[in-house]
């Protein structure tokens, strides 16, 4: 696998959407190619950062009460 092929699978790899065989080929390329390794590390950091920043928010407790009342008490 070359750098271009590896980078084409960047997000599929980070999202765990590849077959074990392709995943293994990429892991091998990343181990052998520091520039691709750094690029993938950066993108992984970005996705972790996104997830961490966006998941804090949940439904307001009044909304939950409103829904329970509407579904079950009327």
């Amino acid at each position: 696998m070359n750098c271009r092929e590896c980078t084409e699978h960047l997000y599929e790899y980070l999202d765990r959407e590849l077959t074990p065989q392709v995943e293994q080929e990429i892991r091998q390329h990343l181990a052998d190619c520091p520039p691709c390794g750094e690029h993938f590390d950066f993108e992984r950091l970005f996705l972790d950062f996104l997830r961490a920043r966006c998941r804090a928010q949940g439904a307001p407790s009044e909304l939950k009460l409103r829904i329970l009342r509407e579904l079950f008490d009327e």
Binding site: E38, F42, L45, F49, R51, R53, R55, A59, L63
Partner: protein, 201 residues
């Protein structure tokens, strides 16, 4: 609480069937309330609209609960209902679908821009939640919903394709462009705040 019994909502359900329906709905559907709310908030861009959209989704889901195959993907099923409700009833009043050609947007590589400045991306640590949410809200709707389902709610490509009713290949290309656009927006913000130097444009 009034002492009169509640009126029967559906044709002659037995109390035992009602209790079972309620229990399974709470167990499989209501546990996804936070996810539905986060997605609704990003779609509508407005907390009051998000409340209404989620309430309507739960009501529709409860009425259609007999159609849901228990133990399958309740989150995906609920998100599909939510998205249809949004498209049919809310989008007209809140945001408008974009008319831009999304394929014409050339994704920009922040990683390459950062090579001389912050190749490890440490500037991300200085960007707060609200700024990230604002950047997501500025994405075109098709990108926004894809990124929210993937990066915020953790759905697989296949699940996202089912909710959005598009091919998996479309999910991949939208996700790629959406993430790059988002990086570009956050990079511009970080340059504007002086967290990184940035290259002269």
């Amino acid at each position: 609480m009034p002492s009169t019994p509640p009126p029967a909502p559906t044709p002659t359900p037995t109390p035992a069937a009602d209790a079972e329906k309620r229990a399974s709905f709470e167990r499989e559907a209501l546990v996804h309330l936070d996810s539905l709310y986060r997605v609704a908030l990003r779609l509508t861009g407005n907390p009051a609209e998000a409340d209404d959209l989620v309430q309507e989704t739960m009501l529709k889901a409860y009425r259609a609960w007999h159609q849901y195959e228990k133990g399958t993907n309740a989150k995906g099923w609920l998100l599909t209902i939510l998205r249809h409700a949004f498209i049919n009833e809310y989008r007209r009043r809140t945001r408008h679908p974009e008319t831009v050609d999304l394929d014409a947007i050339e994704p920009f590589s922040v990683f390459e821009e950062l090579q001389d400045d912050d190749p490890q991306g440490t500037f991300f640590d200085r960007i707060v939640d609200d700024e990230v949410l604002r950047a997501i809200d500025e994405l075109p709707e098709q990108f926004r919903e894809t990124v929210v389902l993937s990066d915020v709610e953790g759905l697989s490509y296949e699940e996202i394709a089912r909710v959005l009713e598009v091919p998996v290949g479309t999910v991949k290309s939208r996700l790629f462009r959406a993430r790059r656009m988002l990086q570009g927006k956050l990079y511009d913000y970080a340059v504007g705040m002086g967290y990184i130097k940035g290259n002269a444009t």
